[in-house]
Assembly symmetry: C2
Homo-oligomer: 331 residues x 2
DNA sequence: AACGTTTTCGAAAACGTTTTCGGTTGATAA
DNA sequence: TTATCAACCGAAAACGTTTTCGAAAACGTT
């Protein structure tokens, strides 16, 4: 089977030329309304489906958007992807997903695939900002627009969509101080990631500004490391305030928080979170809502804007800052 | 910029024909080793990257695999996607992701996009088995191989990869009985989904077989509905055993389980789970490990096997059953 | 030297579109 | 009647590959 019908078949059947069919199907003004109607009806009747690969080759547009992320974890990325796919679909774009596993060569490979695949744009979340610059320059050399989301780079001229890591961490620090905590632990992600450093910076600077010195900052490599470190830190000192910079770290510390609670410890927990995980826990979590869906949607929106503005330098700004608000699981 | 070099440019520079370059780059035996080497070196030097769209048009292979799922939730799907992407990447395939939002017309639309995009294969998880059959037949008409994963259809001749829902539910039922439960509640997903019905069937049949009649089965529409229903059911009767058929329902019932525990209630919880969520909870959860990563990987593996076997009817079987094992979070 | 065989290469068609450009038609105005 | 001008349609090139087929060259055998 698979008698996939093409534009030439249609033309032959209707006794017109392929160009006429093409124009009719694409609503070009060139074709008389009555003939155009005939052609469209025949196409509908025979279940004609245009071949995206062929049209992509012809007009150098693939209608593909690539998403490159370190890893598809259960934290955060599901809602980001949902936001992206939701948005771009409206405009006829499709989504390709790549994981680079915190591996630079894998990241490079993914970008090369994107180039070969002629994607129209790339949405990127990278973990090694400095080392990734060459990869990004490959994209600009190939005229492929991209936006960095969630995690940025310290460099002008790249489009970025993210929260203000620095400010949000300050707010978190301030929040714990306001709640009367005396001994505070901040749990931060891998110190090689600039996002961790930015959040650490905001946190510690706010602490100093508040004249608060009784706090520790702890960078952890991953989930498992986080689990261990919380416990170790608490062995050294009994904290009454905990800041975790992500859902993953919130999850990592949860087991320990439960055990502390059983020992009657009062612990103030504040997180930066997508907003769902906190509701699974049986202890109170205040969190700054870092909305993954919104992030995905806004990043996609920005992406399409860049792609459509021939001269994207005309766009309002390179950096789009997402708002965050303080919420609570009311645990 | 964007002086993307193509095979014709290479040919011109080297003073050979495009066919020669093409063959050299694809290791055809047609070209003398020395010339082939020259060509490859020049290609490398000038950073030549083959255009996938063009080659896709020529040989009618897109090297794209599509994944169509109801919705990218934090439960289960992240690990499934990871498993798929991990596997297909090794063989040069790329992944496109579509959500159909439990909407049949959206599902149809996604399938049409796949056809237009000439994807080489489709991985599908569908919620409305009966109503989806026409969509699936569209795929067979267009000669696009597909495999159904996680959720199947009651029909012969489609490739499926999943766990044995019926048996696993029986095991879950048996488990609760063995643990000495006297009043058992089973929380099941949307009753329109055949997966819910299959799991319900296994559960209730095993109950009857064990001569156990003091149990309720409760189908819930979604997460929020699940939260409400658990509470309502417990108002009617004090259960001491709870079966939840998915991570989502486990999450939905968690809040209530905590509150029961505080009232001193002893509750045996058994779930079908991807294996991570249980470890976030502070109560004991036994679970039958439904490994999402493995599911994704095996589905992808099967997909590639079908695509490569010209005559896929030669494959060992249509139905691939994944093993599950009983584990516990040791809460 | 003549012939057969193998190796190596290139011309051209093909994949299914879109778009440019020119030609034909019919109507309108002079 | 003729010139003008839209409106409408088609031929052909182009996008960047791969593959088929035939030609030419190189080699070996008598």
């Amino acid at each position: 089977m698979s008698n996939r019908i093409n534009i030439r078949d249609l033309a032959k059947m209707l006794g017109v030329s392929v160009s006429t069919v093409s124009k009719a199907l694409n609503d070009k003004s060139d074709i008389s309304p009555s003939l155009a109607k005939q052609i469209r009806e025949k196409a509908e009747e025979l279940n004609y489906r245009p071949n995206h690969i062929a049209s992509g080759l012809r007009n150098k547009k693939s209608k593909l958007i690539a998403l490159i992320i370190p890893e598809i974890t259960m934290y955060f990325f599901p809602s980001v992807i949902k936001g992206i796919e939701d948005h771009i679909k409206q405009f006829g774009y499709r989504l390709m997903v790549f994981q680079s596993k915190n591996d630079l060569s894998e990241e490079l490979r993914n970008i090369e695939i994107c180039i070969q695949q002629n994607v129209d744009g790339v949405l990127l979340s990278i973990t090694h900002p400095e080392n990734s610059i060459p990869h990004l320059e490959m994209l600009v050399e190939n005229d492929i627009p991209f936006v960095l989301f969630d995690k940025g780079v310290e460099r002008e001229g790249f489009f970025e969509v993210m929260i203000n890591d620095y400010n949000v961490s300050k707010m978190a620090a301030n929040h714990l101080v306001q709640r009367g905590c005396k001994r505070i632990l901040a749990l931060l992600g891998n110190s090689e990631m600039s996002i961790s450093r930015k959040r650490a910076k905001g946190f510690s600077e706010e602490m100093k500004k508040a004249g608060f010195s009784n706090f520790e900052m702890c960078f952890v490599k991953d989930f498992e490391d986080g689990k261990l470190m919380v416990e170790e830190e608490f062995k050294k000192k009994k904290f009454d305030g905990l800041f975790v910079m992500s859902d993953e770290l919130l999850a990592a510390s949860s087991k320990f928080v439960y055990s502390e609670m059983k020992n009657g410890v009062e612990l103030n927990v504040v997180a930066i979170s997508d907003g769902f995980l906190p509701h699974l826990f049986d202890f109170k979590v205040d969190y700054f809502h870092h909305d993954g869906f919104l992030l995905g949607q806004k990043s996609a929106e920005r992406m399409l804007a860049i792609m459509n503005d021939e001269n994207s330098k005309m766009l309002p700004d390179f950096y789009l800052e997402l708002e965050v608000s303080l919420k609570s699981n009311n645990g």
